[in-house]
Amino acid sequence: MPSLPMRSFFAALFFVLAACAYSAQETPKAVVNPMHRAVLKTHCQGCHGEQKQKGKFRVDDLPEFIDSVQGAQRWQKVLNAMNSGEMPPDEEKQIESRVKADILEDLANGIVSARRSLSDQHGVIALRRLNRREYGNTLRELLGAKIDVSELPSDTRGGGFDTVGASLFMSGNQFEQYEALGREALEEAFALQAAAKVEKKLRFEAEKTLDSFAKINEGAYDRVRRASLWIKGVDEAAARPENATIVEELRKTEKTDTFLRNAWRKIPGAPAPEQFGFNNNVNPEVLSDMPSQIKTQFMAYERHYFEMTGLDTGAYLTIPAKPCFPPHANTWIPLVIPSDWPIGDYIFRVRVGATEQATPERRFLEFGKDPVTHKKTASLSTHHITGTMEAPQVIEIPYTLTSKLREGGNRTLFVRERGAGDVHNAVARFQTALSKNGIGPDLALWVDWLEIERKLTPENETPPGMRALRGIPLEDNAPAPSQEALGAALERFVWEAFRGVPAPKGTVDRLLNVYNARINSGAKHRAALLETLTSVLSAPRFLYRPEPESNEERRALNATELASRLSYFLWGAPPDAALLALAGGADLLLPDVLHAQVDRLLNDPRAEGFVTPFTTQWLLLDRLDLFQFNLGRYPRFDDNTKEAARNEVLETFAYLLKNNAPMSDLLKTDYVIINPVLAHYYGLEIGQGDEYRKVVLPAGSPRGGLLGMAAIMAMGSNGEHSNPVERGVWVLRKLLNDPPPPAPANVPEISRLAGKVLTTRERLQAHQEDPQCSSCHRKIDPIGFGLENFDAVGQWRTADSYTALDSAGKPDLKSKKTWSIEAAAIFYKGPAFQDYQAMRDILAVRTEGFARGFSAALIEYALGRPCGFSDENLVEDVVSQAKEKGLAAREFIHALVRSKEFHSK
């Protein structure tokens, strides 16, 4: 479909390029198709012409070119009036449906083009502030401090990338947040520095949990036993014939047994709870419910637990009978980092094996922190257990303890079986097993020990900002530094903080003034130094990435500016020492050196700071968090799977970058990049190890490429049902680079189908009835139909069903309708396809549009401004250079980094 290069930008019928060849200065104009003007003349001019100007609106003098804000506004008004059905009025002759749909489609696309053209920034990049994640990364690289910056605005709203300068605002509020966060990061860095030489190690043997497990529950069981005796006493008293009248009277208000027992004082002869060892303020209702509670159901499970072998050297993990109860049931095994251990990077280890009873889906271990308050939230990581009790495996997990995390339960690390923290499913699992075997679920995982270790920080890993302060005491127990020494240290710190830009004249003096003013008002050295450094971290040269251009002329970046542009592009973080060294000698401006640096940056783990934010925003992955998935309906799509599914998209792009594989693999390929959690979800074999890696697909698999990814399909749902419209729009936008115009305002919605039980196709068929709907949906819906074999959580299905809810919100089972999936459809003005595979094959060869869309996204992300019409040549260049290398992922980046635009202010 998008075979012409311009196809993506212009609706070919209504608007054509006024100038086919144009330069960056010359923005193309949108021209109105005369055929459509003729329709407007016939249908509208009678009331909205020179003579009659109803509503003070004329169509006869609508501009031929949409080259002004006012002109766009007038055409927008025509579009609005037709979309809302207001025009032509009901009593007038209507425009033929097909013609109207064409006009609406072209007009909507034309206005999008016109808006885009009018807002074209012609290559001007507005001063870029560090966005939230860049700010956090920058503090990490400069100071080694990993602090939580989530209180800052996310900078991601508004549709564009979070790198676009014009949308990165600043306010007084935010300035103060930067001050507070900067101070926090410095405190953190000082504390890390102080603890650089501290080594710690602690091992906790899992069997140590067993004593309290047994003992404390004993107390609980005893309470249950005594409560049962009390209940028996009250029930017997209530059953006595002489109490019949009283009880009958009580029953009028106390309808349940529990309520009746609650009123035990009114029943003659009923025993008091005190007689059974309870204190006098115990709530009788609680007592009454105690024996029937799940507490007792755990007893058999516990007995079974203590009959297992392996308890002399380790302990098993259990599935809870009820959220969080009993607390000592070893649903998790904790390891507490002692409170006097310093902050810093730790390594957590666990030695663990699966039992013979462990089925494949139960061979996963979750690692997390704060098991009590975080019982409902996702774990920090999930690990595939391939070890056994005879040959357990040791899993190593890095954990960073920050000052903030030292509070509360964050020092309590734990392991649990996958899903044991998921209230909804875990309890159901327990109950199902209990009803089958009278005990509970098999014990699947056995833990030998947990371990935590802190290693000393090697001298050469001191972060650059802290290295800059060498020779300056960071605490008050040493003599305060001389002004000269302090000045020199501040100068070095500023150079690091400003990313290789030397402190401007006056800056160091002003910082010394800030320092001295504090000292003079009684502050100690440490506090004064902290405040002084904080003001460096809230200075504009730190918070923004300035590229000065004094005479308003576009100029080439110098090597230091280029180093920042490159590192924030490919790391989302400041340039490191190596990059700054190359910039210092201007070597970075040599093409070969630059090329090698791009490769080096992409090979560095920090490239994650490009892969994650870019991919997430490019492919709109945030939608995964927009709604809750119905876990009752889709228990397998738990948080572990959802995160693994999201990571699959990121890891696949990372794989393409790392191996310089073709971007077209995202359209269709014969492999997936997955971890064991997803392998299990997709039913694929993967082997040992938690990392994401390449797994070759069996023939006929629907996986391979973006469309086969669970995350992409799950995004095209609402957590309950698949959403073909959402999927169709996504494919048009992201794969075909042929985005439909934004959902128009004020289109009358179709309400006559509300509440009816229909198949998805029947429901969407209604879109074809009104031109206002069909103008876009004729393109969108067929693609959505082709993806209907994927359910709301991205699993393959051959049938779907719909059950209406009754007025109480419960499924009305009588209404249930089931149908088999028919994925066959016809692309609008395009080929027909029989099924998903055939549709994917059609999409897979449309690499041109996909490559253009990807390039435009890269340009916007890297340059920090919208990709406008004036970038058409740049897009063309990037795509054609990548094409020469078979669309290899890195070639897009190399081509962009080579471009004049990437080197220009």
């Binding site: 508004g158 306010s171 923004y544 957590g719 919605e749």
Partner: protein
């Protein structure tokens, strides 16, 4: 854009401001008395509450043919029955420039044209609350407070922004994002001795000075677009300085005791909105500020009602299945319940002269989105007797009346001499008593 003179002037006078007799001449007595409530005529206040994804149109809007006081309250507004005589539903207002069916709040209080500036992909202008604050809040500790719902805003149909408020240059204004933050902003106690507070204020100024100097130094080398961007930084620092001089005026005046307990952290949805409303009332009651906006959550409101459907899907209830419309209606009922409770509170909170807060406050409640992607007939409820409005009405405006006409009516109603706002064409006389 940035002249050093006014700031120098500010710094010179700022030390003098600390002397108390000077304060009285600056109107200190006036606000001090307002705070203690003696012999003061209660001031006028404005609240703006935006709820993102519109309403269920069939059951929220009164019948347009039943104009005036004699109308049947529709199902979606039933919880407001007891207040029927005290609010007016305005129908037919439009924000003609907004074309984005997912922007319920971005232009709601501004009426700006997103595409109004050539060469820019996004444009906005000042919101009505900020205009009102300039007029109403000279004597209060805070000129205005813009409350928000944090991360939930993204999925609640509000569109871009950090709250409902936009400053004089059309930049978003952020503020407390949950009840706890709001409580701390308004009622946090500073137990530092005055002398030390003075030292801290002056240290604060030297830090800001330094930031200002750094920015000025940077600005000299920048091109036009970058200068305009860096101007936000200057504006930010100035905003802090303005607040500092306000703080300075209030130095030594003890923070008012909060009329409610510190909220628990982590509340979301229904309870969160309820508490935010309480805090808004508390802010007015203690005269901390006279203008508040609140961009309230819809997505977490649904979650807190144990609804699994996401709010975007719910808002497009028409095209689909029956339960969406049910959810949409439940949303309306909950929102109306909360609003009714807010009215209760405003009515039961007494001013020093025996009148109630409701007598001096105007509540504007609504969204730029009617329902789904529909942007005409913005749902609007106006309540309270603070702006001379005619209440108890089902008022249908003439076709194409700008929403900004309603805002202009409120501005003038509270005594501002604003002549236009956004795309306004005049006041709506029929709304006035």
């Amino acid at each position: 854009m940035n002249t050093p003179l006014p700031r120098r002037h500010f710094l010179q006078t700022s030390t003098a401001l600390i002397a108390l007799p000077f304060l009285e001449s600056l109107g200190f007595r006036k606000f001090a008395s307002a705070a203690t409530g003696a012999n003061a005529r209660p001031p006028k206040r404005l609240l703006f509450i935006g709820f993102g994804w519109g309403v269920t149109e069939e059951s929220w809007f009164p019948n347009v043919t039943q104009k005036g006081a004699d109308y049947v309250l529709p199902a979606g507004l039933q919880p407001l029955e007891r207040h029927k005589a005290d609010f007016t539903v305005v129908q037919g207002l439009v924000n003609k420039y907004n074309t984005n069916g997912h922007y319920g709040s971005t232009f709601w209080l501004t009426g700006a044209n997103e595409f109004g500036e050539p060469g820019q992909s996004f444009h906005n202008s000042v919101s009505v609350d900020q205009v009102a604050a300039e007029h109403l809040s000279n004597d209060t500790r805070f000129d205005s407070i813009s409350l928000d719902c944090g991360a939930a805003a993204g999925s609640s149909g509000h569109g871009p922004g950090l709250s409902l408020s936009w400053n004089g240059r059309g930049k978003p204004i952020g503020g407390p994002r949950n009840p706890l933050e709001a409580f701390h902003r308004l009622f946090a106690k500073d137990t530092t001795p005055i002398e030390q507070q003075k030292v801290m204020l002056s240290q604060r100024r030297s830090v800001l000075d330094n930031a200002m100097e750094e920015a000025r130094d940077l600005q000299r080398g920048l091109g036009k677009t970058d200068k305009a961007k860096l101007d936000e930084y200057f504006q930010g620092i100035r905003a802090i300085e303005t607040r500092l001089s306000r703080d300075e005026k209030w130095l030594g005046v003890p923070r008012i005791e909060a009329p409610l307990l510190e909220p628990k952290p982590g509340l979301a949805g229904y309870e969160e909105i309820k508490l935010m409303y309480d805090i808004m009332v508390a802010a007015l009651q203690t005269d901390c500020t006279r203008v508040l906006t609140y961009r309230q959550p819809v997505s977490t409101l649904l979650t807190s009602l144990d609804i699994k459907l996401d709010s975007h899907t719910m808002s497009h209830y028409h095209t689909g299945r029956g339960e969406k419309e049910e959810v949409s209606k439940r949303r309306d009922l909950s929102q109306s319940e909360l609003l009714a409770r807010l009215f209760d509170k405003l009515k039961s909170t007494k001013e020093a002269d025996g009148t109630s807060l409701f007598d001096h406050t105007t509540v504007a409640y609504g969204s730029n989105i009617r329902t789904g992607h529909t942007l005409d007939n913005c749902p609007t409820i106006l309540a309270g007797r603070g702006a001379g409005l005619k209440l108890g009405q089902n008022h249908v405006v003439t076709k194409d009346t700008p929403l900004c006409n309603a805002w202009l009516t409120l501005l003038q109603g509270v005594g501002s001499n604003a002549e236009r706002h956004g795309d306004s064409t005049g006041v709506i006389k029929e709304l006035l008593a």
